[in-house]
């Protein structure tokens, strides 16, 4: 079975460039604005979209994404609405892959089987669920693969060569290499080490490897894109949302463009990376 993610990464490989994966939070700062951001991302240069499912207790995320989740929940976002938002997006964009990213509890409460059916129907392509390691694959990963969704696993600096095969075993779509031991939006990684980590992972898998955590601007993205199949940007975009809000925390006329401007700039960095390296 070929998924939208497979197709997109094959296209990127043919084009000889790295991809840009953008993370934004569903429902942040309100549903309508988040939908407008979602719709504008591909045009600004996003090759793959990660759509965050807000959760009250995002234990592997830093202050930016924590705050974005609380803004979204405060504005009434729910998992059901997040799936509807994706269906709405799919009506006008049949090709850009969308990966849902978040924590397990809202999915567990929604009901795993119902969630997989509804997510597939809405046009979701893959899942990243931070608190489901391979030891808990029976919960969601295996049923998701059966339902035709990719399950993207995180590999980290603590995932050594002995453990990597276990992490990669049921992974599909791409592998997400977390460039630091830490939470989102904090340290900037050593990009030299990141490149050797990607090389190490590639010895174990033919899947594309995306690198994220700590990528904040076009320069970072360009450095990562030289060695990885894709670059992931999240907290920096979520911070653009926050920076654009008015004094009462509401979206302004500049909210969507605050995000898309940074995406365009980072996209240019990603697209120019291989050329710059030649």
């Amino acid at each position: 079975m070929t998924t939208r993610l497979d197709t997109r990464f094959a296209d990127l490989a043919r084009a000889g460039r790295a991809g840009l994966v953008t993370y934004v939070m569903a429902g942040d700062p309100d549903r309508e604005t988040a939908r407008a951001i979602l719709q504008a991302l591909p045009g600004a240069g996003a090759d793959v979209i990660e759509f965050g499912m807000p959760f009250t207790d995002p234990m592997a995320d830093g202050p930016s994404i924590q705050a974005a989740g609380l803004r979204a929940l405060g504005a009434g976002q729910t998992l059901r609405k997040t799936l509807e938002d994706i269906a709405w997006f799919r009506a006008s964009d049949p090709t850009t892959p969308i990966v849902l990213m978040g924590y397990y509890n809202p999915i567990y409460i929604y009901g795993v089987e119902k969630f997989l059916v509804d997510a597939k129907a809405a046009g979701v392509d893959g899942l990243i669920v931070v608190d489901l390691p391979p030891e808990e694959d029976e919960e969601l990963c295996l049923p998701a693969l059966k339902a035709g969704l990719n399950f993207i696993r995180l590999a980290t600096p603590t995932t050594d060569d002995k453990r990597l095969p276990k992490v990669l075993q049921n992974t599909s779509g791409f592998v997400y290499y977390v460039s630091i031991t830490g939470i989102t939006g904090m340290a900037t990684p050593d990009f030299g080490q990141t490149a050797s980590a990607v090389a190490r992972i590639k010895k174990h898998t033919s899947l594309p490897v995306a690198v994220g955590f700590g990528v904040k601007n076009a320069d970072h993205a360009s450095a990562v894109a030289r060695g990885a199949d894709a670059v992931v940007v999240g907290s920096a975009l979520v911070d653009q949302v926050k920076g654009s809000l008015d004094a009462s925390g509401k979206a302004t006329a500049g909210t969507v463009s605050a995000v898309t401007d940074l995406v365009s700039s980072i996209s240019a960095g990603v697209r120019g990376a291989r050329k710059a390296a030649e």
Partner: protein
């Protein structure tokens, strides 16, 4: 739903996947998994090593002050006019609660693993104080995460931790209480995973913590068995303890789980009442996944975690240890709940009739002793775990009672 089948033994969990029935497990970020597997192995090695047991026994006797007495509360028994009530005096331990039993086990394990930096989360501050104490004793760096709200309402414990050389980090996220302190400790652990040992304060979190902390706390029940043989020549008829995460309770219960004649009661915090603000995860929650394990949790219909509320900062966690969730489902332990008001009343009662000021946490258990004991015959022996002393709560209770200190 069919009731789960009763097992041959209630004491065999967790299984190799860290589960008690469907509860427990290892729901953590990949960054932590290799560490959790290391910890599981280190604990299994330690358990098999007589030197570790001997080291622990020495400190339990000479530093913690064990065994804690099993005290016949004669005046309370007379006052309530029913069951014969014994109190297991965990409040007499060094640092004033049962928390030190567990911290000792974990700190000795951290030393075996070569970890020099210890992090902990705390609600009332009791676990933080116990951790800071043992870090001082062994010269380890200690960082304690505590919700900013709890920092304000448990000021004397914050000061104690600082005196003991610990760094107390007030957590500003979420509702600024214990749940948020645990999130922040997990974030620290993900960030400093190589150097750091996370000393969890109750029987929750990813496997192996729930089983490991239970093992450390089970000394409470083992001593109770022996002491009761000596005092009465037989097993008690009932056990009762308060349940936050559930470590003092499981510590008392576990050695008795396979004795069918022993009735067992856990008491959750009902706060303002089960239909209002409370922290009774079993009475008012359902199964979900948080902080590394599946267990009963307070949440909304979308799976978003709700804040617990209790007069007692040590009980207002929106979850409960996974073994308790299982014991409730299989019907071995009965979970009751006590409101803030009931706990306050019990707090004053024990102070007046026995000269013992209990922690607000165990005042919840005492509130249900007040209900249950009068319904039992005079030859019924009931043991309540007095998990901590109330010194830390005196200022808060004075304020509620309208007394200016």
């Amino acid at each position: 739903m069919n009731a789960p089948a009763k097992p041959n033994s209630f004491r065999s969990g967790p299984d190799e996947r860290g589960r008690f029935g469907i509860y427990g497990g290892r729901f953590v970020a990949e960054t932590l998994m290799p560490l959790i597997l290391d910890l599981e192995k280190a604990y299994a090695d330690a358990k098999a090593d007589p030197a570790y047991a001997a080291e622990m026994a020495g400190y339990l006797t000479h530093y913690v002050g064990r065994p804690s007495p099993l005290y016949f509360a004669e005046r309370l028994t007379e006052h309530l006019g029913g069951a014969k009530i014994y109190l297991k005096r965990e409040e007499l331990n060094h640092t004033g609660s049962h928390k030190v039993n567990n911290v000792l086990g974990q700190i000795l394990l951290a030393r075996r693993m070569g970890k020099k930096r210890i992090i902990a989360e705390t609600g009332a501050g009791q676990h933080g104080v116990a951790t800071a104490t043992l870090c001082a004793r062994f010269g380890l760096e200690c960082i304690v995460y505590m919700g900013a709200v709890d920092v304000a309402r448990q000021a004397s414990n914050v000061f104690r931790m600082k005196m003991l050389g610990a760094t107390v980090v007030p957590v500003q996220s979420g509702a600024k209480t214990l749940k948020d302190a645990m999130n922040e400790a997990l974030r620290d652990w993900v960030t400093n995973v190589g150097s750091t040992f996370y000393c969890i304060g109750t029987v929750a979190g990813p496997h192996p913590y729930p089983g490991m902390v239970r093992d450390f706390q089970s000394i409470i029940g083992r001593e109770t068995r022996e002491q009761m043989q000596e005092a009465e020549g037989r097993l008690p008829d009932s056990l009762i303890a308060c349940v936050g995460g559930g470590s003092n309770a499981i510590g008392l219960f576990h050695p008795f789980l396979d004795d069918p004649s022993v009735e067992i009661y856990g008491v959750e915090a009902a706060g303002h009442g089960l239909t209002h603000l409370h922290a009774a995860s079993i009475a008012g929650g359902r199964a979900g996944v948080l902080h590394g394990n599946r267990t009963y949790l307070l949440m909304d219909d979308d799976g978003q975690i709700q804040e617990g509320h209790s007069i007692s900062a040590g009980l207002d966690y929106p979850g409960i240890g996974p073994e308790h969730s299982w014991l409730s489902d299989v019907g071995r332990v009965t979970y009751l709940s006590a409101t803030d008001d009931e706990a306050l009343e019990a707090f004053q009662l024990l102070s007046k009739v026995e000269g013992i000021i209990p922690a607000l946490e165990c005042a919840h258990a005492l509130a249900k002793v007040k209900d249950l004991a009068p319904t039992k015959p005079k030859d019924h022996i009931m043991v309540m775990n007095l998990s901590g002393r109330g010194d830390k709560d005196v200022p808060q209770v004075a304020e509620i009672l309208g007394t200016k200190l």
